[in-house]
Amino acid sequence: MSSKVSRRQFLSYTLMGVGGFMVSATVMPMVRFAVDPVLQPKGEGELVPTQQKADELTETPVRVDFTIKDRKDGWYKSDVSNTAWVYKEGDTVIALSPVCKHLGCTVNWEGDEKHKNEFFCPCHNGRYEKNGKNIPGSPPLGPLDEYVVEVVDGYVHLGKTVPNTLV
């Protein structure tokens, strides 16, 4: 029936309260520090929206430019503009990277009149088939990379590049 708090109890509660507060003040930052990598938003691998509507695509590759905003390279923030060659194969949308697998020039669709229906690299006459397969006898040693593609609300979204899966 002693609803009164004794002096001893009062002191021990106060001490526990203050002590707990102090301990949490040191432990919480450590916990936050430990889980921080998990909470970081993933910069790469995110899909970037483009201006290209998916139903306007045909079987002929078109050039799609897109910009990755605020890419961080150390303390240096920049917008990176990127290009993809996008076309439709049946119902799937395919986006190929324009970076030549030889030495990194930019390839163009039908960039040379002599080679229709092919990607062409102007630097050393590298040639690729429509699916990105390098044509033997030309300098490139591998197929063009592919972008991760997703169609969101009718627009093409592009992610990071992955090795070609079509060849």
């Binding site: 430019d65 030549c100 030495l103 990194g104 020039c105 930019t106 102007p122 300098p139």
Partner: protein
Amino acid sequence: MNWTGKDMDTYLQQKEYIDTLVVPLVKVETKMDNMKTSASSTEFVMHLASLIETQFKGRMMFAPPFSYTPATDHQQMAQSTLQEFSAATFKHVFFLTTDHIWTSMELPGQVIWMPSIPLENMDASLRQSILEDQLRQVLPKFTEQWAK
């Protein structure tokens, strides 16, 4: 390829493919009145250079820009500093500039003169399309030399 350690490693391994050197020439004005145009045209040249670089990474090496002030003796610069590029191991040498004085100079390579376009007030997409137009204009000059 840019004038960086990593790209230079690639160049040293792939010398037979990377046969073109591009040297941007930029004029740095020292008078207050001309500084703005000088800065603006330097910006244009460097943007254009980086666009050409991404397009032709595998065949061109880009030297760091060569800068000079109005008092520079162009004739002498052409005959000494720039003349040394004739000894470079590159088969084709191009000088990219917005300063028309170089078009009348004897240089060990082709001078590509472009009229400067102020890019500073354009939004990114307009700038990109303007630079791409300029790129389309210079392309034949490169391919012509390569075809020779």
